[in-house]
């Protein structure tokens, strides 16, 4: 199963309600994925030099210990704590921060980073997870969420979606891939790295690899129809872009509701029934093997 949701705001006035909209969408998909949940929120970052790092503290590792150690190494850091996650904000070059965190902290996992993305994911029922992170308080431009019914790898934070394998990128998946081991080997040779055995992380890595070669998100997902074998509906996000694709067989469901204010995507309509104006929205199912994208 698994449930996937995404919302992209066309009307910026709604940005303060983004978290509230996504909360209802995640609740609507809780039955499709009771094992774990996660979401990515994109918000505009006016300070162009700053990067945000979404970090998960594993094994009850304390925020204070982490803060103490990292502030000795880097200056002018800002922190936002949400449940067992910390968003670290810094204008230091990403390479330095990322390598320091991976060398220094065995119980701190970098889930994603970028100028606008923040990612949160946790094991447990989606209704609990969204409460723990107070998702309804977030604002932003677009957001993507996932509720997981584990089939392919273990129920852990690392096995939860969204997967982020590049700056400001993320991907969620309903389905299963059949050629991910081969593809992972190919991508490893091209310098992509992976943190889990999960099939979806390979799809995210495939997207990152292609975007790093200056291909557009739409072009990337179109090429993915040839290169990714299996069942899938993907929703992918970048700093300014948002897209969905279903494989040619299209066993995995998706519905799109589009109004003048937003584009909402979910595995099932019940996840969007609460959205304002949805009853007069243009509602359609994405066609098999067709990439739909918004933004740039």
């Amino acid at each position: 199963m698994c449930g996937i949701v995404g919302i992209y705001l066309k009307n910026k006035k709604l940005s303060k309600d983004l978290g509230k909209y996504l909360t209802g969408m995640m609740q609507g998909m809780a039955t499709r994925g009771p094992d774990s949940a996660g979401f990515a929120i994109y918000s505009e970052n006016k300070k162009s030099k700053e990067f945000k790092y979404s970090l998960c503290l594993l094994n009850h590792y304390s925020f204070n210990s982490f803060k103490k150690i990292i502030t000795k190494k880097f200056k002018k850091l800002k922190f936002k704590q949400h449940s067992d996650h910390v968003v670290l904000i810094s204008d230091v070059e990403p390479k330095k921060i990322i390598s320091f965190i991976s060398l220094e902290f065995k119980d701190v996992s970098l889930i994603g980073y970028g100028k606008s993305i923040e990612i949160f994911k946790q094991v447990g029922n989606p209704n609990e997870v969204i409460k723990n992170f107070q998702l309804d308080k977030f604002s932003g431009t677009h957001a993507i969420g996932h509720t997981r019914m584990a089939t392919e790898s273990a129920i852990t934070t690392n096995g939860s979606h969204p997967y982020s394998t590049g700056q400001d990128e993320c991907l969620v998946h309903n389905g299963s891939l059949s050629n991910h081991n081969n593809l992972r080997r190919k991508l490893l040779k091209q310098g992509q790295s992976f943190d889990s055995e999960n099939d979806t992380e390979v799809a995210a890595g495939y997207v990152s690899n292609s975007l790093s070669k200056k291909k557009s998100l739409k072009e990337t997902l179109m090429n993915g129809l040839k290169d990714l074998d299996g069942f899938y509906t993907f929703i992918a996000g970048t700093r300014y872009g948002f897209a969905i694709v279903r494989d040619e067989i299209a066993c995995k469901p998706a519905v799109i509701a589009e109004t003048k204010d937003y584009v909402a995507i979910a595995s099932e309509f019940q996840a969007m029934a609460h959205l304002p104006g949805v009853n007069t929205a243009k509602i359609f199912e994405p066609e098999p093997g067709v990439v739909y994208s918004w933004g740039s």
């Binding site: 099932e268 309509f269 019940q270 199912e285």
Partner: protein
């Protein structure tokens, strides 16, 4: 039909509403219902077995009106996967679009879709009449055994793959035919069937002569003496 009974899914649980509709008192003349606020719920009005009219106002989820017998169920909205799946009799009328597997395995009754359906419409149909005013997606009428499907728009890839004895009438473009499905010459009887189905769905802007008929080439499911060594 008696007075109109309003059932609001914001005030009653889905189970309460379905329970009420599934167990009408045979002597009661209350046979006219309006279900509001379905909010994409699954199995709305599944398993109805008596004569009644139900209007569902809004979009519904999976398996709406599944296993229907005798009831006339109208949905003013879109439906999810498997609308009217395994229907035995009655009429299900979708005013919006239907998702995949509409009318799957249904033995009888009539399914009318005013919009389009996604893939696998009429998969394994066993006697139902399906009338789609728009187009149907890929693998529609897969392993269709009996009944009729009318498509006023286009059909997606692999129409009628591994079809048995169902009849498929398509007015528009067929992207491709599935294994053992071929175009057939429409005889008088076929034309009469098509005309009566168009009438049933109140379609008067299309001429039955504009449709083409497809059915089984009977090479896949019939025993062929040339293949005796294979058994």
């Amino acid at each position: 039909m008696g007075e109109l009974i309003k059932l609001d899914l914001k005030k009653k649980t889905l189970r309460e509403v379905n329970d009420l509709l599934q167990n009408l008192d045979p002597k009661s003349n209350l046979r006219n219902y309006l279900v509001s606020n379905p909010t994409g719920n699954h199995a709305v009005c599944a398993g109805l077995k008596d004569e009644m009219e139900v209007l569902i106002k809004g979009h519904v989820g999976y398996y709406c009106a599944g296993m229907n017998q005798k009831a006339l169920i109208t949905i003013e909205g879109n439906v999810g996967t498997g609308v009217a799946e395994n229907m035995m009799s009655g009429i299900v009328h979708v005013k919006g679009n239907a998702s995949q597997s509409a009318g799957a395995t249904a033995h009888g009754g009539t399914l009318i879709v005013d919009g389009n359906t996604s893939s696998r419409c009429g998969i394994s149909m066993k006697g139902i009449d399906i009338i789609v005013k728009g187009s149907v997606g890929h693998m529609s009428a897969f392993m269709a055994q009996a009944g009729n499907m009318v498509v006023c728009g286009d059909a997606g890839e692999a129409l009628g793959d591994s079809i048995y004895e169902a009849k498929l009438f398509v007015r528009g473009f067929v992207k491709s035919l599935g294994a053992d499905c071929e175009e057939k010459k429409m005889n008088k009887k076929d034309l009469e069937i098509l005309k009566s189905l168009l009438k049933k769905a109140n379609i008067n802007n299309f001429d039955a002569k504009d449709f083409k008929m497809y059915g089984s080439a009977r090479k896949l499911y019939n025993f062929n003496i040339d293949n005796v060594s294979e058994y």
